[in-house]
Amino acid sequence: MGIMSLGSLSHQKNENTKKEAVLAAFAANARQYGIVGALIAIIIIFEILTKGLLLQPNTIVQLIQQNAYVIILAVGMVMVIIATHIDLSVGSLVGFIGGVVALLMQDMHVNWFLSIIAGLLIGILIGVWQGFWVAVVGIPAFITTLGGMLIFRGLATTLIKASIPVNNTSFNAIAASYLPNIFGWWGPFDGLTIVVGILAILAFIWSQFRKRANAIKVGLTPDPLLATYIKIAIAIIVIGALTFEFASSGNATQGGIPIILVIVGVLILAYHYILTRSVFGRRVYAIGGNRRAALLSGINTRKIDFILFVHMGFLSAVAAIAMLSRLSSASAATGTSFELDAIAACFVGGTAVTGGIGTVPGVVIGALVMGVINQGLSIMGVDSALIQTFKGLVLLLAVAVDIIPKLRKR
């Protein structure tokens, strides 16, 4: 193709089109902002209903610690669902791998760190096992993982019997402790948290300007400057508020950033990066959106399916370790119905049931919506059985909000 002249840019950019451009920069992710809006609304409602208890620093830390497993599992589940599969076995994997790690530490006196590594490897191996049945043999993921759900729950029950208490303090600290106060206390605040918060804000600002610079470098029109400023302002408010909350969390001896938050945060960033920036991520969206077109584009769809289940196995192991550390004990029933929590978080977070659509930030927010509702209602003293009913209704409502506008379009 000969290089044709670059289309002449129109010079009459008046105020109106500028405004439209700013709006367009946000409208592109309208669905995402919709869920964020819903999360904010839910937080405000419960903040009022619980008379300010919801946003207490320690409540927030508890929220993170309690929902870490959902977020970890949902991050993997969203990739699996985008690729038009499902994984029903993750709850049983949490139970089984947790049992193995507890046995290694308690009965076989293996070092806690080595036990974690072993747990992760077992998760990966189970992922290979399930990936084999789905990708090589071609058994639908629903059936393969339904089988996995039964297989690993059964193994967990056989292995653990009633329960195995874990009394290794280093291991139990993963879910319960904070990063050390290396900068000491600045008044009532943890110094490290403040430093990390400021660094996070700076990193965000830097990434926004780098994105603009890159766009300009390759000759593309970047988002309007105003849109960038608005994004930065929102980021400062959100990160600032979170920094304030975490910096003042904890008790007399420790506080600040929970260790589990670091683990969850790294996983979120890593998988968001994989899904949006890597070749693998592109292929996941491609096979989810149109498997036949992906195949005809030279993509080895079976290989992608296989890798997805390996990732899911790994993440199930991470969730198992987080859960074991939090409960300080492995039991045969640990992880029961976790798969449903993860799947629900995906759908509340805007993942399409038919595949092809979904994002990591979306499902994290989906998980937080469910978590906040759970936490808020608990603080209000609502019966846990009824909380389940509420969560079910929220799931229906979230997906209905997604589907009803599309019905009208037809």
């Binding site: 044709m4 890597s278 036949r292 077109a293 992906a294 005809l296 030279g298 993509i299 092809g356």
Partner: protein, 521 residues
């Protein structure tokens, strides 16, 4: 009732889909007790007309009148027309594969008492209609265990069980072998002579039409262009029929081009492909073809001729089974057993089914455009989005894809612009050979012209282009040479000097020659 001989009259039928006029004042008259053939090119409107007759497109969604058996009919759904004895057998058979013949025959019309199936009656009645169509099978045999020919007979038996008076068959023999086709035609004749069933048969096989039809109606571009009779004394003139089917004038719908053809870069030898499930059925029969650099070669064939199957079987064996033959690129034999290897060999296949096999409608232009060459835009398996944007942006301008930016979801684009995105996806992979399957299907005239310009541009860059199309004017307008395909056999290699629609249509409708078949075995 002007003429009691007439069973069906469709008068001034007009049907539009959005801005597209599929049928424009079509007239059709069917006499009692005849076999009536409807002929026309793909997209002429034959199937649309039958869908109006059966009530698939309900009364009110079209204009014009249907007079059947002396009464005006306003069918709102298929059930309405079936109650009057009109049964349409679609090209895609409507049978449930895991149920028995008997169950399928009475599907929706069950032999029952108070909601409980009467199995004895079901079987007995099934055997009765099965005998009428010469289907000698156990009524409990599952559909999946029958060949396509016998499945077709089950459909007809099902129609008989509904007391059919007017039987419409849409391409009934397209998927059948010669023997099954002959048997089916025999049954249709038998039903006419012994049961008084009137049949309408839509077919591309003109010899078959000549063998069975009493009268022929020709439809072209949504209008009735002629009616011909076929009898012992006045046999059907196939040349005249072909002329009526294609007879429109070529005008300057095609951009000028001076071909610059050099050495051969693509060759396929003795390519034979069998049906993916029915391994006995030959879909492509010892095809040989070549394309030179800078050359635009057409592959003209009607639906079901094996043209798409030929292309897809070459491209990563994405169609068919028991494939044999050789593919050469630049004189060297290449392995095309997977899509990846085919792409690496420099071959690109642009599908005819944009939405089904081409695009991911959930994603944007950029991501669709680079799907076949992701690795090229990545560093350590991480996408270099800036480089990707620049590349796709260039094609947006070169191909004039009408969109504010390349982040637009492809489902929001018009058909023509989607087609350009699909072309981008393959041109970006920088192939030496482009196989374009129906590159202008379902897009408007303006966008068609732009697609032709792109094709010309690619040829002038020295690429070998193979265009598959059933639109003859299009092939004549853009090609340097045209292969005709009929029933899986490449029947002719037509030089530009001999291009005419009549001549090509002859090649496209040629029955499998006996010689060819012996040689093929």
């Amino acid at each position: 009732m002007a003429n009691s001989q007439l069973l069906l009259q469709m008068k001034n039928i007009t049907k539009t889909f959005g801005p597209v006029k599929a049928l424009n004042n079509v007239d059709l008259e069917i006499t009692r007790g005849e076999i009536h053939a409807i002929c026309g090119e793909n997209g002429a409107g034959k199937s649309t007309l039958m869908n109006i007759l059966s009530g698939v497109y309900p009364f009110g969604s079209y204009s014009g009148t249907i007079i059947y058996d002396g009464k005006e009919c306003r069918f709102k759904k298929i059930k309405d027309s079936e109650e009057q004895g009109i049964v349409v057998i679609q090209q895609e058979l409507a049978l449930t594969p895991y149920q028995s013949i008997a169950e399928n025959i009475f599907l929706g019309n069950e032999r029952q008492k108070n909601g409980i199936m009467d199995w004895e009656e079901t079987r007995a009645a099934a055997i009765k209609v099965m005998q009428q169509v010469g289907l000698d099978e156990d009524p409990d045999t599952k559909i999946i265990d029958l060949g396509v020919g016998k499945q077709q007979l089950v459909e007809i038996a099902k129609a008989l069980s509904k007391k059919v008076k007017l039987l419409v068959l849409d391409e009934p023999t397209a998927a059948l072998n010669d023997e099954d086709s002959a048997h089916l035609l025999e049954i249709i004749r038998y039903l006419r002579d012994k049961q008084g069933v009137t049949s309408v048969i839509i077919s591309h096989k003109l010899n078959e039409v000549k063998a069975i039809a009493d009268n022929v109606t020709v439809i072209r571009d949504g209008t009735t262009v002629g009616r011909m009779t076929n009898s012992q004394e006045h046999p059907l003139d196939l040349d005249e029929l072909i002329h009526k089917m294609v007879g429109r004038e070529l005008n300057n719908l095609y951009p000028e081009r001076v071909p610059n053809i050099s050495e051969e870069i693509f060759r396929v030898e003795n390519w034979t492909v069998h049906h993916p499930v029915d391994h006995q059925r030959v879909i492509v029969d010892h095809a040989n073809l070549y394309v030179r650099a800078g050359e635009i070669v057409g592959l003209a064939g009607l639906m079901g001729s094996g043209r798409t199957e030929l292309a897809m079987s070459i491209f990563g064996r994405t169609y068919g089974s028991a494939i044999t033959g050789k593919v050469y690129v630049h004189g060297k034999e290449v392995d095309t057993s997977t899509v990846k290897k085919s792409i690496e060999a420099g071959i690109a296949y642009v599908t005819e089914d944009r939405k089904g096999y081409g695009l991911n409608l959930l994603r944007n232009i950029r991501e669709n455009a680079t799907l076949s060459s992701l690795i090229r835009f990545a560093k350590y398996r991480i996408m270099d989005e800036a480089r990707e944007r620049v590349a796709v942006e260039k094609f947006r301008k070169d191909f004039n894809i009408k969109t504010p930016n390349i982040e637009e979801q492809v489902s929001n684009l018009s058909g023509g612009n989607q087609q350009k995105v699909l072309l981008t996806k393959w041109v970006i992979s920088n192939p030496d050979i482009l196989i374009l399957d129906e590159p202008t299907r379902g897009i408007d005239v303006g966008a068609k012209y732009e697609i032709y310009e792109i094709i010309n541009q690619l040829a002038s860059e020295g690429k070998a282009i193979l265009v598959i199309s059933s639109e003859l004017p299009e092939l004549i307008g853009i090609c340097d040479r045209i292969y005709t395909v009929s029933q899986g056999v490449i029947t002719d290699d037509v030089q530009k000097s001999k291009f005419s629609q009549e001549y090509l249509m002859k090649g496209m409708t040629k029955e499998k020659e006996k010689v060819k078949r012996v040689w093929g075995l």
